[in-house]
Symmetry: C2
Subunit: 183 residues, 2 copies
């Protein structure tokens, strides 16, 4: 039996990220899980216009996406609870820079991507920032035979419906393969 | 030590969905995991322009997002391997309709959302469809105290890097809570 839930977004879980930008010349990080993939090399961030970080992304045309691991959940959640307007969140992490020079990244996160802003789509309450992934860095420890292994990354998955963080479970099938025989 | 991977999108995993639309008056379903959340009640789909389904979404201004469970992985993957141009994929499922009448949904999927197209953003190889969630249905079996419980939904998580499907792991922390004390 189907239950009518009303108009409720149940498209979850999403990977929780720490988005980095320079704001007034200083690194800042904010927790964003409302992300998307646009084309294979470009990604989107849905960021409430109230966030301190948005002005830095617009000013520099660059940002970073850092993927924290489960063990970083306290700091990750914290960066969504406090604003860069009043708190120096970069003090929580060791920052490094790559090719873009204006996209601060978090050393502790196993995956870091530098992105160049290509389009901003204006929605009533949110800026949708779309960027090309320009360079990607990872910890050697999360690679298996040269490919990023998400069982080693241990990303923090976010579900809005019950405001919760989840671990990634087991890999169980190959995509573009397991369905060659649908039955 | 950080390894430079080049420009590589590592923003994963994403929930694998079956997107439904009427194409030439017939229901069709396509596997899409490059999705996003835009504002809390609106979502995005990144759909290669080669997909048969895109024309149906544009013609009707509606689509559905169906979230299959792990046990549906063969049929789900299959809908990404074959095109509606040559295969009647609706024959794999029992279809039902809700309020919009032009957004076919899959009875077997534990979660179904009817969406109204609000914006199409044109990218070189992909149509980015942004839609408002108009109505949501779920199986009674996936609710816990009236809220969708993703441990019961058992979504199929997609990682592009090694072309794989993953299960959801355990819920381990509360969002906007666990980070009140970051240390």
């Amino acid at each position: 039996m189907k239950i009518d839930l009303g108009a409720k977004n149940c498209l979850y879980p999403f990977p929780t990220t720490l988005v980095g930008a320079l704001v007034d010349g200083k690194p800042n990080y904010v927790t964003i899980a409302h992300v998307g993939v646009i084309e294979h090399g470009s990604v989107s961030l849905s960021m409430n216009k109230s966030h301190y970080t948005n002005a830095g992304i617009k000013a520099n045309g660059t940002f970073s996406i850092n993927i924290p691991s489960v063990k970083m959940v306290k700091k990750t959640d914290h960066c969504g609870l406090v604003s860069g307007k009043t708190t120096d969140k970069a003090a929580l992490f060791k920052t490094f820079y790559g090719k873009l020079k204006t996209a601060p990244m978090i050393e502790d996160c196993p995956i870091n991507m530098e992105c160049t802003l290509t389009k901003t789509v204006d929605f009533p309450t949110h800026d949708i920032f779309i960027g090309n992934v320009t360079a990607t860095y990872c910890d050697e420890a999360v690679l298996t035979e040269g490919t990023v292994d998400f069982s080693k990354v241990q990303p923090i998955l976010f579900v809005m419906n019950d405001k919760s963080y989840w671990k990634l479970g087991d890999k169980f099938a190959k995509a573009w393969d397991v369905g060659k025989e649908p039955k």
